[in-house]
């Protein structure tokens, strides 16, 4: 015979301010299985926990219901407390009478009745609970890092330095990401390459890191401690080990194409190329789409001159399968396409450029060798307009603030004034958000020392007239319209995350703007809702280099926390099969989002470590052969009965 104990928490006035807790105790005592019920001000306190432990011993309780906050908050607390008093933790359940009751209702009469029903229904469930044991599984001591930008690099180094293996997957031919494209970094004006390339080199030589470039994660199964990952490695056509970067191949390559990726269409490159001199891995790569040699015709000029015999035009795609214990996602961002902003020229005017194009134009490694020349005619622009919040904070485009644009625009204007001292720089802004350490000081320096003209106001339209661009704007301080002829316009484009595909593959949710959803915005900002998958960099939300690096290190330490364990304990709330009822139709194996059900000659079989207990297979099974541990149909029906049944309702006081 079950002996249930019920403990009703006041949560200060959070619950007791609305719910008549004494009445709840009094009413649930009428439940035939309840042996003991009491209330206390803070059940989660040491005294409250002690009350529960004492009651278990004193009354020989076999099940516990704590009516308090959400089980997300304190279920672990009460289960641990009950366990030390000798109870199986799975015989403890919580009824949420705070978030789902007292916080959302005002009428004490209704709230008290609802509390009674919720507790009663939880009692009905707990008496059917089986005492379960946690599922244990081993941990694969290897970490997958997706994305080779600064966040991915930092995370990979941190994990590798702790002695664990790292697989770093990058979709482009080199690691380095967006940071490699930048000229200088705010607010200190370090050269981006100078501080990034040492880290890239460290990754390259680290014995614990294996880099896969031109690669994409295409499939992930399993769960924390043991993810099974499939990586598609596209052909590079050049042997990384053999290539000595002599550049002979590049000289003879007849195919000239626009350098769309690294130099953002500002210059040209060959079909066999290296994105930039410090690329890692240091090897050439063939752009298969534009090469004459890879298709049906075989040009092979590069093959003929390569003394290292490093080029193989018959290179093929490879599928690599690895097992990892934890995953860090750092897939970074793209700029919002300037072609979507019609009023600024839809990408029609050559001298209206985006912020990354400007970075390339002023970078010493860029297409002009660091001399600022505008794309249309190569002239030095004597007057430049910088427009902030293009696409960002605009309900027709991106509703959010991209966070980095105020600072990089200040940096752009500053660097422009240094390159063209007699030039004029105008910045159009909504307001300046310079919330980081030494950021405000940097803005002041740009405004005063460099005499950059800041105008508060939005630009309504850019019009081309002859070789000038006419900027139509309004100064919202004086309230007057402005017409400003300039030589070049730099659009501080908002940033958008690269998450669509990876979120689907990893089955982690994205928010309304496409950023990966963290488990908790304040208290778990680097954890994804799936255990063992962590987030870093702009994939999770707009952030600058400083914040990306900090978050990457945080994600790495979370991954290390898992990798350093010998085994993972997992909730035993998994699906079970009644083999006598199973008709082997296979619906469950196809529907399971975690690939946790397999078909055997005896019927369906659940792989317990992989099962997340989502219940999809249980709902779908046509013969009712599947059920979820401690969520048996009988228990659920009893819960529903309690929620709907006629129970004595307390009088209005």
């Amino acid at each position: 015979m079950e002996r249930v104990g019920v403990f009703v928490c006041h949560c200060g006035r959070n619950i007791a301010g609305v719910v008549d807790v004494k009445k709840v105790v009094e009413e649930v005592k009428k439940h035939p299985f309840v042996f003991h019920a009491e209330d206390y001000k803070y059940m989660c306190s040491a005294v409250g926990q002690n009350l529960i432990q004492e009651a278990i011993k004193k009354y020989g309780l076999t099940s516990i219901v704590v009516a308090a906050c959400s089980p997300r908050m304190h279920l672990e607390t009460f289960r641990t407390a009950a366990m030390s008093a000798g109870l199986n933790p799975y015989k403890v359940e919580m009824a949420n009478i705070r978030e789902q009751n007292s916080w959302v209702h005002e009428d004490p009469h209704v709230a008290t009745e609802k509390a009674i029903r919720l507790v009663w229904s939880t009692i009905n469930k707990v008496i059917g609970n089986q005492p379960l044991k946690k599922v244990r599984s081993n941990v694969v001591k290897r970490c997958l890092v997706i994305g080779g930008g600064i966040a991915g690099i930092q995370a990979a180094l941190d994990v590798a330095n702790s002695g664990f293996e790292v697989i770093l997957v990058e979709k482009s031919p080199t690691i380095g990401g967006r940071m490699a494209q930048l000229s200088e970094t705010f607010p200190t004006l370090d050269c981006a390459q100078c501080i990034l390339t040492p880290k890239m080199a460290e990754v390259a030589r680290h014995p614990n890191i294996k880099i896969y470039t031109l690669s994409e994660v295409i499939e992930v199964n399993g769960s924390v401690g043991k993810f099974k990952v499939k990586i598609r490695k596209k052909p590079r056509y050049v042997d990384i080990e053999a290539c000595n970067m002599c550049s002979e191949c590049e000289k003879v390559c007849p195919q000239v194409v626009l350098d769309k990726d690294f130099n953002r269409s500002l210059t040209i490159r060959k079909a066999i190329y290296i994105p930039f001199p410090q690329a890692v891995p240091p090897a050439y790569v063939i752009d298969a789409e534009n090469c004459y040699g890879v298709g049906t015709t075989r040009c092979s000029e590069c093959v003929k001159v390569c003394e290292q015999n490093a080029i193989n035009l018959f290179d093929t795609e490879e599928i690599i399968e690895v097992e990892v214990g934890a995953i860090i996602v750092a897939t970074g961002y793209d700029l919002y396409p300037k072609e979507k902003i019609g009023e600024y020229g839809y990408g029609r005017y050559e001298d209206v450029i985006d912020s990354l194009q400007f970075e390339r134009l002023i970078a010493s490694t860029g297409p002009t060798g660091g001399e600022l020349r505008r794309p249309s005619d190569g002239k030095v622009p004597k007057r430049v307009a910088f427009i902030q919040c293009v696409g960002s904070r605009d309900l027709q485009h991106l509703p959010y603030c991209s966070r980095i644009c105020c600072m990089y625009t200040a940096k752009h204007a500053f660097l422009y004034k240094h390159l063209v001292p007699d030039g004029e720089a105008y910045v159009f802004y909504i307001d300046i958000r310079a919330g980081g350490k030494r950021y405000e000081e940097f803005i002041m320096r740009v405004q005063t020392e460099s005499k950059v003209r800041y105008t508060r106001g939005r630009v309504s339209k850019i019009v081309q007239k002859g070789d000038k661009l006419i900027v139509h704007a309004v100064d919202t301080i004086t309230g007057k319209p402005i017409t400003l002829p300039v030589d070049m316009v730099v659009l501080a484009m908002g940033i958008v995350p690269n998450t669509k595909e990876i979120a689907e593959i990893l089955r982690i949710p994205i928010d309304e703007n496409g950023f990966l959803q963290e488990l908790h915005p304040k208290l778990a900002p680097v954890e994804s809702p799936i255990k063992g998958i962590f987030l870093a960099g702009v994939a999770q939300g707009p952030k600058d280099i400083q914040d990306s690096v900090a978050q990457a290190s945080a994600a790495a330490s979370k991954a290390i926390e898992i990798l350093s364990k010998d085994y993972i304990e997992k909730e035993p709330l998994v699906a079970r099969v009644n083999k006598e009822l199973c008709s082997k139709c296979g619906v469950c194996t196809q529907l399971c989002p975690y690939n946790a059900v397999e078909m055997t000659p005896e019927g369906a079989k659940v792989i317990e470590v992989a099962c997340e207990g989502c219940g999809t297979c249980v709902a779908a099974c046509p013969s009712g052969a599947l059920s979820l541990a401690n969520y048996e149909p009988k228990q659920i029906f009893l819960m529903v009965d309690a929620l709907l049944m006629k129970i004595p309702i307390p009088e209005k006081s």
């Binding site: 019609g342 009023e343 839809y346 027709q396 339209k461 019009v463």
Partner: protein, 291 residues
């Protein structure tokens, strides 16, 4: 197809050329035009404040009468407009009535001398009818006289394209007039001022400002090689024409004739009776001059 037609005041006065050409074009395309009985002025400018309904009274009264006309003459629910401003005001009022029950209730009470508005109409601008009901291919089939590569600058103005919920096309990159011009054998020019405001009613209070704007618009069209500017808005047409007279000195002989879109369509369809003789002569000369 029988469609309802709301002319509006300007079309019956200064823009009578537009009405004549537009209706002839639509009749040639097989539409039967039924003018709304007892229509009233749309109010011409739609006030943006949301806490008043007064600006919607006149247009809703017209829409109620359009619904009565629809029932009486068994027409379709399509309500044709020609003037950009009427199109804008009717659509804004219709939107407001349909999306906000409180506003609808207030208007019903205010307009208690009329039956309630049922919100069954589909208000369509002349250009929308050509694009969505006729289709570009059918326009091309009807062409009897090609415009012979005439360089045409489309002038949309602002009210056809803003705000987004009543816009007939993309506010920043509209294409419908250009597409129609291509079907007629003309060569549309892409110039940056085509979706700018002409200055609108400022012509009454601060005309100098409007003349400056129209000068910029005409100059830009000229820079991009336009030989003619077409529009669908009577006020734009007036401002552009008058502005060129007032800024004759600054324009230095670079004036461009202003016509309605419907007039070029009527010309290409060979509907000479629908055109004012001087307009026909003008287009004839321009097409002939191109050889």
């Amino acid at each position: 197809m029988r469609i309802l037609y709301y002319p509006g005041c300007t079309v019956k006065a200064t823009a009578i050329r537009d009405e004549k050409a537009s209706l002839a074009v639509l009749e040639a395309l097989g539409f039967k035009i039924v003018e709304v009985e007892d229509w009233v002025c749309c109010g011409a400018v739609y006030n943006l404040p949301r806490d008043t309904v007064i600006q919607a009274v006149a247009p809703i009264r017209t829409l109620i009468r359009a619904e009565s006309t629809m029932r009486k003459h068994k027409t379709s629910e399509i309500l044709l407009t020609l003037c950009s401003m009427c199109n804008h005001v009717l659509k804004m009022a219709d939107n407001m009535y349909r999306s906000n029950p409180d506003v609808a209730y207030k208007l019903d009470v205010y307009l208690s001398d009329e039956p309630n508005y049922e919100g069954k109409l589909k208000i369509m601008h002349f250009l929308e009818i050509l694009r969505d009901l006729v289709g570009y291919d059918k326009i091309k089939e009807k062409v009897r006289r090609s415009l012979g590569g005439l360089k045409v600058a489309s002038f949309y103005g602002c009210l056809l394209l803003r705000p987004r919920e009543v816009a007939i096309d993309d506010s920043e990159d509209p294409i419908v007039i250009e597409e129609i011009m291509i079907q007629l054998g003309a060569d549309p020019v892409d110039y940056p001022y085509r979706n700018e405001c002409c200055g609108s009613y400022n012509v009454v209070r601060t005309p100098e400002y409007v003349w400056d704007r129209t000068k910029d618009i005409v100059e830009s069209a000229n820079d991009y090689g336009a030989e003619i500017i077409v529009t669908t808005c009577p006020l734009c047409a007036y401002n552009l024409e008058e502005g060129q007279k007032r800024r004759k000195k600054e324009l230095k002989g670079r004036e461009i004739p202003i016509l309605y879109v419907s007039e070029l369509v009527a010309y290409a369809f060979g509907l000479d009776d629908a055109l004012e003789p001087e307009v026909k002569v003008l287009i004839d000369r321009m097409v002939r001059d191109r050889g």
